[in-house]
């Protein structure tokens, strides 16, 4: 089931060290760097959660923004009545339940019909929430009364990103992971081999949604107030999709490999071509797709394997130190 060979341990140790460094970064980094990184962690968590379901089963969902926004609203409504931790937990539960209902109702939808349906869902939720707030509460906005520091948000999002990647990797080694991938390969065949495709799909859709809801809620702690157009912004669904596709949606750490360069590229272009940002970014996308079919993850994987294969890991490291 879960095997870790001796040769994996150095990589894991390095990884743990890196995580520790990131967790301690707030001691030295400026608010800007923290903001940049926490947005990155949020994107990593979102796109990894997205790929957990959509990357494996190939049911491309554009409902990311819907669950993200549901998380924000759940938090906004509850945080004035209950402690923050409970509110965040509730967010995960609400996201899960809503996705469960949505998942169960969309069982017959496939392909692009599923995609556009999920997009429609986001818009519908946006409109209904807007209407409800206005009719019942005579307001369009809700205040966020949170005194949570940027540092705390940074650490929570770092933890979330890691949890999502590790969780996704862990599940991929379980039968559930195999079931997900089997559905992605050929759903009919998967069903005939005895997999309860309905249960697998709906469960994993709901898990992915609940992560998205929590990420939304945590990010919302930084705003003075929220409204439906801030909470339910379709472009977020597209960005998460793009990051995952660029990185490679079929591996647990693929989306992260897409989110990181995307954020760095975005930040660089924003500073260098502020008034032409969309043109520059768009051109980059087009170029990337042509020169990196399959995304970045396969490239990195190939590089890593050709580097580690044939020679021992420590031998490689020793060679590096001597030069």
């Amino acid at each position: 089931m879960l095997e870790l060979a001796a040769k994996d341990w150095p990589a894991i140790a390095l990884g743990a060290l890196a995580v520790l460094a990131l967790a301690l970064l707030p001691l030295v980094a400026s608010g800007y760097v923290l903001s940049l990184l926490l947005l990155l962690y949020a994107n990593i968590a979102l796109s990894t959660a997205w790929a957990f379901f959509s990357g494996t089963t190939r049911y491309i969902s554009l409902a990311t923004a819907a669950f993200f926004g549901i998380g924000i609203y759940t938090l906004a409504i509850l945080h004035v009545h209950v402690p923050m931790a409970i509110a965040l937990l509730a967010t995960a539960v609400v996201g899960f339940l809503v996705a469960l209902i949505v998942g169960l109702s969309t069982l017959r939808l496939r392909g692009v019909y599923f995609v556009v349906f999920t997009f429609g869902l986001t818009e519908l939720v946006h409109q209904v929430v807007n209407w409800w707030e206005m009719k019942i509460n005579r307001t369009a906005t809700r205040y966020i009364f949170a005194d949570v520091s940027n540092v705390t948000i940074y650490q929570v999002l770092l933890a979330l990103a890691l949890l999502t990647i590790v969780g996704s990797w862990y599940v991929s080694r379980l039968r559930l992971g195999y079931a997900l991938r089997a559905i992605g390969e050929d759903e009919m065949v998967a069903r005939h081999t005895g997999i309860d495709t309905t249960r697998v799909k709906v469960l994993c859709f709901a898990i992915s949604a609940s992560v998205m809801a929590v990420v939304g809620a945590v990010l919302a702690l930084r705003y003075p107030y929220i409204d439906a157009s801030i909470a339910f912004n379709n472009s977020r669904s597209f960005e998460v999709l793009i990051a995952a596709l660029l990185g490679g949606p079929s591996r647990p750490w693929g989306p992260a490999l897409g989110a990181i360069p995307l954020m760095l590229l975005s930040e660089y272009l924003s500073g260098t071509f502020p008034h032409h940002f969309p043109i520059a970014l768009g051109l980059c996308f087009v170029v990337i797709v042509y020169f990196l079919p399959g995304g970045i993850a396969p490239l990195v994987e190939r590089a890593y394997h050709s580097w580690a294969a044939g020679r021992g890991f420590t031998a490689q490291l020793a060679r590096l130190w001597r030069t």
């Binding site: 608010g31 005579r138 157009s229 008034h275 969309p278």
Partner: protein, 405 residues
Amino acid sequence: MDRRTFVRGSAAAVGAATLPHVPAQAQSAPDKLRFGYAVTMSGPLAPGADSTTISAYKLWQKRVNDAGGIMLKKYNKKVPIEYVSYDDQGKPDELLKLTERLIQQDKVDMVLSPYASHMNLASAPIINKAEYPVIMTTATTNKTYEQGPRWPYAFWNIAQPKASSGALSTALAELKKQGKIKGRVATVHPTVEYGVENNEAFLAAAKADGIEVVFTKSYPLGAADLQPLIREAMATNPDAFLAFSYPPDTFMLTEQMQIVGFNPSVMYVAIGGVFPTYKAKFGSKINGILVYGPADASGTGMDEFAKAHQGMFNRAYEAGTVNVYSALQITQEAIETVGEIDRKKIRDVIASGTFKTVWGDIKYVNQLNANPWAVGQWQNGELVCLFPADKAGAKPMLFPKPQWS
């Protein structure tokens, strides 16, 4: 570090400590003043941001630099302005991060306002904490009353909902008193923050002023057909029709009211009513329509401003640009009064002074513009300012609104 370096270093340190103290005046002035802004340059809000905010920033920089720059008394030198700018893509997350980048990374001298109410509000805590005085130019929301006092470094330049909606209610009450209207009002608004808040503010003011609101409904932003809504409003036979609208619906309502022949004697549209493109589309039919946030030619230096704007952008200015430009003028004057970049002193000057600008005389009370132009009207092809009625330059209202010819 080897011994030779250590000795050399120590000698240098001792030498520096024994040099005579150099007086401040002989210090060199900065060769550029760096102003930073993060404004929406892509996504749905971008065109509005460009027309209202960015064009003002660009125009101001050109005119200031053409005159040599901002005068810093401390160094007796004019210093030109350089911008550090970012596209926040219309996302609050990006704006928060970019504002921090401007302040902490780029270490700009001053920060300028973002675009849109929720963006202005979002950046306020950050600029306040870093003690950068910023005049926010595109925020109109009850939150400036509620939260404004927490941020002494944030100033709010345009008419807030109570002021604009209140002015309308007062005007209608006056007309009713004079027997010119029965006092029946229909209101519509998009289901967004601006629409909801202004509508609620109007309902409250109307109740206090004895105006009867016979119809009030909302529509989603981006609705593609408002004719059924107009028909419904028309059926209640109001003498005033107020739309707390955004540009797409401002245009659409105006067009569709003409199609169905809805002719209230008082008509108000909100955002977008002042746009030159609104005038270009409807021509003489806009005569008598009330609008939000006007600017007229009576402000100090408006002639030169209008000419410069036309020269730089090859199009007429929009009232919002005048508002943003006035904030820049105030910022400049405050810096020149203080004589150097001392942001606390600059903040205090803005908070207490009275300034002559292209948008009239401006004074802030508790960081809110004391009496910005709230409601205006198109009269014979010209935009005139009506309310606050006691402000210098206010004109009388044209009543009734002429029939659609």
